[in-house]
Symmetry: C2
Subunit: 333 residues, 2 copies
């Protein structure tokens, strides 16, 4: 079943059928209807491969992320897919895991599929070491690259991110203002956005306290138990703290579990602020105060920018979105 079958049955040439399919050039209303009717009858669908071969595009966007089962990334993937589809694009999803080597291989694979653009859902994707990101830079020579929550400065790379620095700066300041000076900062990896958060934390401390204890900053396993145990361990070793800022909600939940185990009352003995405002934040007890970084807005903005790029319109290389604190019961501002 192909365009020839349709053209034959409709008594026109394949060119005319093609015109009807693509709807741009002029075709008389009468023939158009006839062709449409035949296509309907035959249940004809254009072959995307043949079409792709000529046009060298299949209207497909690659999406890469480390792990689509992470609640934040899962949301991002969901919204991205939805928005892309609204614009007539499909998406190839590709979860790479956390190893650089795999990320590089998957990127190559995706490019070989002739995707029209690549969306990288940052957070865990960008390496702290700049050199390790050259493979992304190089890919930008082939297709536009959209970075969600990441920042690389190069033509054809478009970044959409939330102002993590500011958000953590503000959160930290709120705690400091109410006299909570022994604040722990927990994060899971040296991703771009983690570094931003960390810097926001440090900046607030320096501004208000003019001092900074490195022993209050910890990389932490991305699990509830792991976080709980780390805090337990730190506390046993004599570290004093009365607040925790977590770079992810799951770490915040871990901190709650720690407080419970130690019989600390929240937020009096221990204030806790999470990040992402995910489902986890409303699930725990007490419910977690968390920074909402607007995944949906972030995703929509990313796709909108991408569409501008693909349509050869001017598009900003960097878009920053502000985020806000959703206060629940692990703080009392």
């Amino acid at each position: 079943m192909n365009i020839y079958d349709v053209s034959e049955k409709a008594g026109v040439s394949i060119a005319t059928v093609s015109r009807v399919i693509n709807g741009n050039s002029k075709v008389s209303e009468k023939t158009k209807q006839k062709v449409l009717r035949v296509m309907e009858e035959l249940g004809y669908t254009p072959n995307v491969f043949a079409r792709g071969l000529g046009l060298n595009t299949m209207k497909t966007i690659g999406i890469m992320c480390a792990d689509s089962s992470d609640p934040f990334l899962a949301n991002a993937v969901y919204y991205l897919e939805r928005e892309l589809r609204k614009n007539g694009y499909d998406s190839f999803l590709c979860c790479t895991g956390y190893e650089l080597k795999n990320k590089q291989n998957y990127l190559k694979l995706l490019l070989s599929k002739r995707i029209d653009a690549l969306v990288i859902v940052g957070s865990y994707f960008l390496e702290a070491n700049t050199k390790d990101n050259t493979y992304i830079m190089e890919a930008a020579d082939e297709v536009p690259i959209m970075l969600m929550n990441g920042n690389l400065n190069k033509p054809n790379i478009y970044c959409t991110l939330c102002d993590d620095h500011q958000a953590v700066y503000d959160a930290t300041s709120l705690l400091l203002n109410q006299g909570k000076k022994d604040i722990l900062f927990l994060y899971t990896s040296k991703s771009y956005s983690s570094i931003q958060k960390l810097n926001g934390f440090k900046a607030a401390l320096m501004d208000k306290l003019h001092t900074l204890k490195e022993e209050n900053i910890h990389i932490c396993p991305a699990t509830i138990e792991g976080t709980r145990d780390l805090l337990l361990h730190l506390s046993m070793n004599g570290l004093k703290f009365n607040a925790v800022i977590a770079a992810e909600d799951i770490l915040g939940v871990g901190a709650i579990k720690y407080a419970k185990l130690k019989g600390l009352s929240i937020p009096e003995d221990l204030s806790i602020i999470g990040y992402n405002n995910s489902l986890l934040a409303t699930c725990c007890e007490p419910e977690l105060t968390s920074v909402d970084n607007h995944v949906e807005t972030l995703s929509i903005t990313t796709v909108n920018t991408l569409m501008r790029v693909l349509n050869n319109q001017k598009a900003p290389n960097k878009t920053t979105i502000s985020n806000d604190l959703v206060e629940r019961y692990t703080t009392n501002f």
Copy 2:
């Protein structure tokens, strides 16, 4: 840059280059090495469209689910993608939302992309009304269809599901055995697996109690607050219950929130059992006893079966996986 460039530079015909690329037919070691070297030098990658055009396949599997941001589905998507890629297949992800009309449209779209097979992540996907599933049945005429947590009996449809009936039967029995007779059953939709769970619930009640109260069975919004409020409402209307079986963890968490609001102690006044053993189950307080339905095993099995189908090996039309109860602190068996 195409196969001609390579053939010219290597001094062989395009046929030979093609053979080297595909590695099946016999090529002398010497020419093979020469061709490989040239391909490397030129950085040549075969054009997937041209290839697809000839072979009429692009080694791509469609994945449909209602909402990839649902924790259970997010996990399923993650594992499916990983397993498919291991087998050299890419995946098109497609989140349809919950409306039948959209599901139908997306399915058509996916088929028009010439996917090699379709994986439908069931749960919310199958309609209670059999007629509403005919579009899936029809699709099975075109490509193999894998149903995860769904059941449709037709050639070329392969179902992988967990024994939800048994799991809920067992859970209910445990509660009954310890004298908890007023058990509420909460679920969110009339999906195939929901019905299985419900039937398991009913069967256990009939077997042990020889009676069944319809007012103890409720469809419930899939949110924490929605569940909490529903229970509050039921209780205010005089309904007595001392246990809740939830068809999803999130409903279980809602029940916990309800208990907290009412000052009930868990599990003494109210026992709660969730379903899916998702992150939510360890996040709440007390942690939720939950049925683990082994998403990972389910996903792996689905892909393994699919690979058999695609390789024309015999494959079972229905595979059932058992699941087990993970006891935490919302029950005391």
